[in-house]
């Protein structure tokens, strides 16, 4: 579990969100508290987070025989609720992101994926993400 204080401190520090990675779980970790800042706009979040798995072209890892799905030209991205749910709850090998991204960042990157890699023009808002998190009973956290 992540101490709630870190998020609050990071929020108070300004627009750039600091991310605490000092693990309180028993898993091996570096033993630092990270100040790595993640972009606020969607394209930046995509580069800094999503493309680690979904690749720069958003074509995923299907070519390598993995199950990492393409986000580009993906009809499932038409469903805003579906897209939000995966970001806040994770699915399969993909973890949830509500612990390292703010609702604004999640909304921004989903909007980027829907408009830049697909043709779904309607933006996703931070409010919609907030609502989905509340509906899910709060953000997911590691045991």
């Amino acid at each position: 579990m992540r101490p709630a204080g870190f998020a609050a401190l990071a929020g108070a520090a300004g627009a750039v969100m600091g991310v605490a990675t000092a693990s309180t779980s028993a898993q091996d970790s570096a033993g630092n508290v990270s100040s790595v800042a993640i972009a606020e706009e969607g394209a930046g979040v995509y580069v800094q987070i999503c493309q680690a798995c979904h690749m720069a072209d958003a074509r995923g890892g299907a070519g390598a025989g993995t199950g990492i799905p393409a986000l580009a030209d993906n009809p499932r991205m038409a469903d805003k609720d579906y897209a939000i749910e995966i970001m806040i709850k994770g699915r399969g090998g993909m973890p949830w992101f509500s612990d390292i991204l703010s609702s604004r960042q999640i909304a921004a990157v989903l909007t980027h994926i829907r408009t830049n890699f697909n043709d779904y023009e309607e933006p996703i808002t931070a409010l919609e993400v907030d609502r989905a998190i509340a509906l899910a009973g709060g953000p997911v956290s590691d045991e």
């Binding site: 991310v19 990675t21 000092a22 693990s23 779980s25 028993a26 898993q27 091996d28 970790s29 570096a30 033993g31 630092n32 508290v33 990270s34 100040s35 790595v36 993640i38 580069v47 800094q48 987070i49 999503c50 493309q51 680690a52 798995c53 690749m55 720069a56 890892g61 070519g63 390598a64 025989g65 993995t66 199950g67 990492i68 994770g90 699915r91 399969g92 090998g93 993909m94 973890p95 949830w96 390292i100 997911v140 956290s141 590691d142 045991e143």
Partner: protein
């Protein structure tokens, strides 16, 4: 930690007698709980290698995956008399028990390919790299398989702590920050005590003892202040260190302010070293972490089929059949056995057609993974030893690379050595994993230069990065659980489905450690053996 001697039973009953009484009344679980409370058995649940024997003649087991869980299962099941075959996707055994050396290729999802050019003897441990002294299962197998271990240097007081917004971005020695931290805290607590602020909380007697403790532990002066004295220098270092003969007398060093120390976050590192899994003594295998897999392979190598991609896992009342493709020749084949121990990691397993019920299927899809990133940087010389007196241990930073870690072997030698240039988690790991291998090296050099600005780029020879989320054979490094997913899915993940049982890093409460994978395998094969005998 409860101390049995202070809080244990009185009146002549020995601890052993009490435990055996508890064992007789409440069974093994109650005894284990009591032993933990009395200060015993606080290590892992390893109780010695399994004594499996007497497998039914001709009975067989198919093991999928030749990581440590699979190799251990193969070793113990074959000892018990089973006919065992292991299918492994990669061209090597070990899985995450992995070392990268000169000549090794790292091929990522998306095709990025690195060929490591480290000098002979140098290596990067991209996955596990340090072994706690209480991981009894792993240590047992290292010993019995002849895997030589050497100390892994964990807490190095002379290494650095860096935060971008502390000390103008200048790294500080851990020992200076840690000594200053406890000095300032001691002074403040002493003031609070002396002003009577804690009189309601602390007895007069304890208050006196506490003041003595603060003065001694915090190195406070006669006025209970943390000031620059020669005694403090004895912990944090001197301006002029002690010399001999007519050389100048030693002088103390100047202290950091409370504000400076607080901005460094040094308590994070101090607390980190208190973690049970981070406490000294820690170990590493000589020559690379994969020496453990090599040790197993000396015993069961003849049972392992490499380069074998599992394409389908089917079962019936009679047994298990696995279809596969040879990734080198393209040959398709199948293997059958009475039972199957499947250690394929969940993100990969969920892509394979598998004849198990929805409970296990759903569990396999409920375990996401962390994608850590490690980067090895080969340097021409050991400048951290020569110029900084740093021998092993870690320098921490709040940048994406999280730390650099210094080699624990070959100290004082000439010739190139490999630094760990990054061990990134979380946001930093996503950022690094999303880059090209060249960009990762550049970021590692740029960020690591804060510690050794004059030498870092000058001495750099070559680098190799392992971004776990980009490795096609696993797509992640360590499993993530929530309380909810554990409650809903863990049992379904671990329970037999017909003739198939899962094991590995995902099927343990001890995720992210080789010990956990091995405990998972031991538990799975114990249950397999009982089933096979009673079937």
């Amino acid at each position: 930690m409860t101390n049995g001697d202070a809080g244990g039973p009185q009146g002549g009953t020995t601890r052993r007698e009490l435990l055996s009484m508890i064992g007789a009344m409440g069974g093994a679980a109650a005894m284990y709980q009591a032993m933990t409370a009395l200060g015993h058995a606080a290590e892992t649940q390893f109780t010695g290698p399994p004594a499996l024997s007497g497998a039914r003649p001709g009975s067989s087991v198919l093991v999928l995956g030749a990581g440590l869980a699979g190799l251990l299962a193969a070793l113990e099941l074959s000892k018990a008399g089973y006919r065992v075959q292991v299918l492994e996707f990669q061209d090597r055994a070990g899985g995450r028990n992995y070392s990268v050396r000169g000549g090794d290729r790292i091929v990522e999802v998306g095709g990025a390919t690195q060929t490591c050019t480290f000098a002979p003897g140098n290596y990067l441990n991209p996955g596990p790299w340090r072994i706690p002294h209480h991981h009894r299962t792993l240590l047992h197998y290292c010993k019995s398989l002849g895997v030589e271990l050497e100390p892994f240097i964990q807490n190095n007081h002379n290494a650095f702590v860096h935060r971008g917004d502390a000390f103008g971005g200048q790294p500080q020695r851990y020992k200076e920050l840690a000594v200053d931290f406890k000095g300032h805290i001691s002074e403040l607590l002493g003031k609070a005590l002396n002003e009577g602020a804690l009189d309601q909380k602390v007895s007069v007697e304890d208050k006196e003892k506490l003041l003595v403790a603060l003065r001694e532990w915090g190195l406070l002066d006669a006025n209970m202040a943390y000031t620059s004295t020669i005694r403090v220098a004895g912990q944090r270092g001197y301006d002029i260190p002690p010399g001999g003969g007519l050389s100048p007398a030693p002088t103390p060093s100047s202290l950091n302010s409370l504000g400076g120390v607080l901005s460094s976050n040094v308590w994070t590192q101090m607390g980190f070293y208190f973690n049970y899994v981070m406490q000294t003594t820690m170990f590493q295998p000589k020559g690379g972490m994969d020496m453990i897999a090599a040790g197993f392979m000396r015993e069961v190598g003849q049972l392992v089929r490499l380069n074998t991609r599992v394409t389908r896992i089917a079962q019936s009342d009679a047994g298990v059949t696995v279809n596969w493709t040879d990734t080198q020749t393209g040959e398709a084949g199948s293997s059958s056995a009475d039972w199957c121990v499947c250690t394929i990691p969940p993100p990969v397993l969920s892509q394979i057609e598998m004849q198990v019920g929805s409970a296990m299927q759903n569990a396999i899809r409920a375990v996401p993974m962390n994608g850590q990133v490690k980067i090895g940087l080969e340097m021409r010389s050991r400048f951290w030893e020569d110029n900084y007196a740093i021998y092993g241990g870690h320098s921490f930073t709040d940048q994406a690379i999280s730390l650099i870690s210094y080699p624990n072997d070959n100290m004082f030698k000439d010739g190139p050595a490999v630094l760990l240039g990054a061990f990134a988690n979380g946001a930093g790991a996503f950022q690094l994993a999303g880059m090209t291998p060249e960009q990762r090296i550049e970021m590692a050099l740029e960020q690591g230069s804060v510690f050794h600005p004059a030498e870092y780029r000058r001495e750099y020879v070559s680098g190799a990065s392992v971004a776990w989320s980009r490795l096609p054979w696993i797509q992640g490094c360590t499993s993530r659980w929530t309380e909810a997913s554990r409650a809903t899915h863990y049992r379904n993940l671990c329970d037999f489905d017909g003739r198939i049982v899962l094991a590995g890093e995902h099927a343990t409460y001890y995720g992210g450690w080789m010990e956990g994978s091995m405990l998972s395998a031991l538990d799975a094969i114990g249950r397999l053996h009982s089933r096979a005998l009673s079937a």
